[in-house]
Homo-oligomer: 336 residues x 2
C-alpha cells in the first residue's frame, strides 16, 4: 500500500486564494490493476489558470495541474518502471494513471530533453511552451518586421512568446511589473524594449517604443492595459488572448471594468481570438511539434529559459500564491 | 453655372452633434471637364459612422456619406445624362464626379433595382446591405441551427443581419430599444425573439431566449451589453463587430468602460473581428454579389425592408440626430 497526499480545493476562492481553501488529504492508494501504473511526482507546476478555473469547477476537487512523475510500479508496457510521465494529476505526490485516463486527459511520456533540465517538461518544453508556440504563431500569424507586444512578458508564457517573436524577425515590446523583470527581458532575452507598467505611462511609453504601431498583441492580462495597447494597433492587427490574469482574483459575478475595446476593433479592423492550448492537443496532438522546435531553439541558444523553483510538497501553496502575485521571473515550478 | 449647397463640418463634435457644428455652404460649381459628370442628389443617407469618424477627421470637412445622384450633364460615356450614380459625396445637392474620383472613393452606377424603391440603393441594396451581408456571413460564418444574437437589431444593418440569419436557418434573437421595435422584429421580420434592452434584464432575458447558448453575435453597439452577450456564448463562438454606437457620442479620450471581455474570450475560445465594409469593395469589388443576393431575397419576400424617410435637404441634420437617438426603425434616409 502506498500512502499518498493531495491538495483538495474545498471552496471557491474569494480574492487571493487562502491556505484554508485547500486541505492536504492523506490517503492510501489501492494496488494497481492491469493497464495502470504508479507515479511519484518529481516536479509540480503552478499556473494562473488554476486560479481562473476555480470559479467554474464544482468544489471540492483535487487540484489539477501538470506534473512530472517517475513510474514506480507498472502494469502498462508503454510506461515501464523508471520512465517519466507528464500528466495533469496536479498537486499530489503519488498517483495511479492508466490508458483510460490518458484518453480523457493530456498524459504522455516525458520527451527526451537531451540534457536540458527536467523541469522544462512542465514548462518551456511542456504545456507552457505549447501555449506560447501555438497561441502566438497560429493566432497572431506574425510576419518578419512586424511589431509585437506581449503583456505578462516576464511570465512563463510571455517570456517564450517574446523570444519566438524575435526568432521570427519581429520587433518585440514587453510589459512587466518590476524593473528587475524589465532588465531581464531587455538584457537577457533580447526584447527590443520592456516597459514597467506599474511605474510608466503605458500609452506614452508604448507610443515611444512602437512609433509604427502594433501589429500583433499577445494578451496575458486583459483589462485596461489591453484596451490601451489595442488603441495603438495597426489596421488588420491580430490579438491572441491567452489569459486575463488581471481579473483572476476578482469575483466572476463582479468582474472589473475597462475602457471598451469595440471602437478599436472596428476602426482598425482587428481580429481577436481567445484560446485554450488543449485545442492543439485533442483530437490531433500537435504538442510534440512545438516541443521539438522549442528544444532546438534552446539548444542553439536562441531561446533562454528560466525556472523559478520552490522546493517541497508542503510549499506548493506558497509557490502558487507567489506566482499569482508576480514573484516569479520565468516559469514557477515546485520540486518535490 | 450651377449653384450647389453642402454641409461642412466645422468642428469636432462634443456629445450629440449640434446644428452649429455644421455650416450650410453655398457655392458655384465650375463647368465640367472631360471625364467629369454632374449629379443632382435625389437621396442622401445618414449613418452612425458619420458620428464616429468625426473624431478622426481633420476639420473642417465636407460631410461624407452615400447618396444617389441623377446625372444632369456628362462628359463621361460611362455615366450618361439621365443615369443614376451611387457615390460617397455626402450631404450636398449637386456634385461633380469623375473617373479619378471613382478610383479613390466608392462610386458606381446604381444597380437595376427592378422596381424596388430607389432609396434601397443607399440602404438594403447599398452599403448597408453589403455591411450586413459580408460582415455577418464572412465573419460569423453561421451554420444552420446555430443561435445568432444581433444588437441594434431594428437598425438599418441589424434588421438585415437578423433576416439573413433566418434565411440561413439560424435561431435569431435581437436587442432593440423600444417595444414598437421589438414588435416589428418579431411580428414583421420573423425574429425568433426580440428583447427591449432598456426595460428588460439583459442577462436573464437572453438566458431564457437562448437556453443552448449563443454561437454568433453581430455587434452594433459595443459596451456592457456586448460583455453580457459574450458571457453566454458557446465554445468557439464568433463575434462580428460592426460598430459601437453606444460609445459614438463620447469623447474619444474618455471612452466608456464596460466589464472586460477577455475572460469570456479565453474560456470560450471566442473569435472576435472588427470590420469596415470597404474591405469588400477595394481592391476587389464584391458588393454586387451582395446586392444581387439581397435583391433576390427581397423580391421573393424572404427579406423585408423599411425606410425611415425624412424629406428635404434642410432636414438632413435632423434626420442624422434622430437616427443617432434611435428614432428610426429600418434605414434612415433623406429624400431631396
Amino acid at each position: 500500500m502506498v500512502k499518498a497526499r493531495k491538495y483538495v480545493v474545498k471552496t471557491h476562492f474569494v480574492g487571493i486564494p487562502k491556505r484554508d481553501d485547500f486541505e492536504l488529504v492523506e490517503y492510501e492508494l489501492p494496488p494497481i490493476k492491469d493497464g495502470e501504473f504508479l507515479v511519484k511526482a518529481e516536479w509540480i507546476s503552478v499556473d494562473p489558470y488554476m486560479r481562473a478555473y476555480n470559479a467554474f469547477t464544482p468544489v471540492p476537487y483535487d487540484q489539477f495541474g501538470f506534473q512530472i512523475g517517475l513510474v514506480q510500479e507498472s502494469k502498462n508496457s508503454k510506461y515501464p518502471v523508471g520512465s517519466r510521465v507528464v500528466s495533469h494529476k496536479g498537486w499530489c505526490d503519488y498517483a495511479i494513471l492508466s490508458n483510460s485516463q490518458e484518453a480523457t486527459e493530456i498524459t504522455y511520456k516525458m520527451p527526451d530533453l537531451k540534457g536540458l533540465p527536467m523541469e522544462l517538461a512542465i514548462g518551456t518544453v511542456g504545456m507552457t511552451g505549447a501555449t506560447a508556440y501555438f497561441g502566438f504563431l497560429e493566432i497572431c500569424k506574425p510576419k518578419a518586421g512586424e511589431t509585437v507586444v506581449v503583456t505578462g512578458a516576464a511570465g512563463a508564457v510571455g517570456s517564450i512568446v517574446g523570444q519566438i517573436a524575435k526568432i521570427k524577425g519581429c520587433r518585440v515590446i514587453g510589459f512587466a511589473g518590476s524593473d528587475a523583470k524589465v532588465d531581464w527581458l531587455e538584457k537577457e532575452l533580447g526584447f527590443d524594449k520592456a516597459i514597467n507598467y506599474k511605474t510608466e505611462n503605458i500609452d506614452e511609453a508604448l507610443k515611444a517604443a512602437a512609433p509604427k504601431g502594433v501589429d500583433c498583441y499577445f494578451d496575458n492580462v486583459g483589462g485596461g492595459i489591453s484596451t490601451t495597447i489595442m488603441s495603438q494597433m495597426n489596421k488588420f492587427g491580430r490579438i491572441s488572448v491567452c489569459g486575463s490574469i488581471s481579473a483572476y482574483n476578482d469575483d466572476p459575478k463582479s468582474m472589473p471594468k475597462a475602457v471598451v475595446v469595440q471602437p478599436s476593433m472596428v476602426f482598425k479592423e482587428l481580429k481577436m481570438e481567445g484560446f485554450l492550448v488543449s485545442r492543439w492537443a485533442k483530437p490531433e496532438n500537435r504538442w510534440p511539434e512545438a516541443f521539438a522546435e522549442i528544444a532546438k531553439w534552446i539548444m542553439t541558444g536562441q531561446l533562454k529559459t528560466k525556472s523559478h523553483i520552490t522546493e517541497g510538497f508542503d510549499k506548493i501553496y506558497d509557490a502558487f500564491i507567489g506566482m499569482l502575485a508576480g514573484d516569479n521571473t520565468g516559469k514557477a515550478v515546485v520540486k518535490i
